[in-house]
């Protein structure tokens, strides 16, 4: 059984790291995984996105057209990925800055105020983990505890001081993910 997750946003919103964290956690959980980034020359702005695949069997293609789930950190990403997520899949939207609701009804959409929550936690840079936490609450691909454990050993040294906030971000996200509030009716 294979799960594909796309995470997409502006450069700097941490989409790539969130995807890597998933892959690291999958490895720790003894699963097969791939992480596939989109990349551009250093100085190019625009969107950065990546695909993480987690599976109990060896993985063929590291990219798919129709992922099982997507986390969209900004509007362009919503425009691009909403149409692509598999029917019945999960779509997590950073509602703090994305001002439109998803249109599709054949998938589970979560409107999570990522930036606001991050603000509350006093650390703008953890938006990505808030949304990831929310996703994990709805997508039975990895245990939250697993992801938290993994984060503890993969977080880069110069970010270590932020570990606590990062863990909180995941938890807050997970909480939001389970609350009904986030689901658009």
């Amino acid at each position: 059984m294979q799960t594909e997750i796309v995470i997409s946003g502006f450069g700097g919103q941490g989409a790539l790291f969130a995807g890597q964290l998933l892959a690291y956690a999958a490895l720790d959980a003894g699963l097969h995984t791939t992480w596939f980034p989109s990349y551009g020359p250093e100085m190019r702005g625009g969107t950065a996105h990546c695909t993480t695949i987690i599976s109990d069997a060896p993985i063929g293609s590291p990219v798919v057209r129709n992922p099982r789930a997507a986390i969209v950190l900004n509007l362009p990403s919503l425009e691009r990925y909403e149409p692509l997520v598999k029917a019945g899949g999960v779509l997590v939207v950073n509602s703090s800055i994305v001002d439109r609701r998803p249109r599709r009804t054949d998938l589970e959409a979560l409107l999570v105020p990522g930036d606001d929550t991050a603000q509350e936690l006093g650390e703008k840079r953890v938006t990505n983990l808030v949304l990831l936490g929310a996703l994990l609450a709805r997508l039975p691909v990895l245990e939250l505890s697993q992801v938290k454990a993994t984060l503890d050993h993969v977080i880069p040294a110069h970010r270590r001081n932020l570990l606590e906030t990062n863990l909180q971000a995941l938890e807050r996200g997970a909480a939001l993910g389970t609350s009904e509030a986030v689901a658009p009716v």
């Binding site: 020359p41 250093e42 100085m43």
Partner: protein, 272 residues
């Protein structure tokens, strides 16, 4: 862009240059590539040569320069812009031809092409952006990287014994007989930016007068790969680069000898 004066008693004194395409660039915030672009465009406008100018973009962050100037442009392989410019100028002698090259492009892979374009006295203008780094590929060491400077390919800081000494291209090229005008200027503050523009203008006039090879080296910033804020980066130019890369005119038409090879002594802080 047409400008609507906010108040009839006021007249626009600085407006968007015609030779600059009315489009945002992809450069990082505070990157002085943008200043260099504007200065070149202003000079092209002042000389009224926009319609007969052909630019040659190189490989580096400025690879898309052709999108930002409203003049004809070719895009050259890494380091070969002077060769393309030679091919263009020799077959279109009535056109104004300039290259826009980074330090990796001009001083590393393109060292032979720039040296020989100078030796041939190719009648072209070279804008040389020295930001002491490989910007586009993410901050590797450039031939102009300062001793001790950390880059992704000199993680412990450039060890000149192992990784070589930074190259002073202006001093080297000023030595070459075919070079008519060679100057180094800096973009770290208003005074120096204005001096830089004067040098760029001279470098284009030298070409118009058919005097030979002209180059302006511009000390430029790379906030992104230096890991600095925009202003911090300008201070780094002033405090670290200028002392090693003296500003000045190293060769001016007429003076065969590399006059002022030690720079014009202008104190870097003078600009502030």
């Amino acid at each position: 862009m047409s400008v609507q004066a906010p108040n009839p008693t006021l007249a626009p004194v600085v407006r968007y240059p015609e030779a600059l395409a009315p489009t945002p660039t992809h450069y990082c915030p505070g990157c002085t590539h943008g200043i260099a672009h504007r200065l070149v465009a202003e000079v092209i406008d002042e000389l009224g040569v926009r319609e007969e100018t052909i630019g040659v973009a190189s490989v580096g962050c400025s690879v898309f320069a052709y999108n930002y100037f409203s003049v004809d442009f070719a895009q050259a392989p890494h380091g070969r812009a002077p060769a393309l410019a030679t091919g263009i100028k020799r077959t279109s002698p009535d056109k104004v031809v300039f290259t826009y090259q980074g330090d990796g492009d001009l001083a590393s892979i393109g060292a032979a092409e720039i040296l020989h374009a100078a030796a041939r006295g190719e009648n072209i203008t070279v804008i040389f952006i020295n930001n002491a780094i490989y910007g586009m590929t993410g901050g590797q060491m450039a031939p102009t990287t300062l001793a001790g400077q950390r880059t992704t390919s000199s993680p412990l800081g450039r060890d000149v014994k192992l990784q070589g000494h930074p190259l002073k291209m202006s001093e080297i090229l000023a030595q070459v007989d075919g070079a008519a005008y060679v100057a180094r200027r800096s973009l770290h503050d208003v005074v120096n930016i204005r001096r830089a523009k004067k040098a760029i203008r001279k470098a284009f006039e030298v070409q118009q007068q058919g005097l030979g090879f002209a180059m302006v080296e511009l000390l430029s910033s790379c906030p992104t790969n230096w890991g600095m804020e925009a202003q911090e980066a300008l201070d780094f130019i002033r405090d670290d680069m200028v002392p090693f890369y003296p500003l000045g005119e190293f060769k001016v038409p007429g003076n065969g000898a590399p006059g002022g090879a030690k720079g014009d002594g202008q104190h870097p802080k003078g600009g502030r």
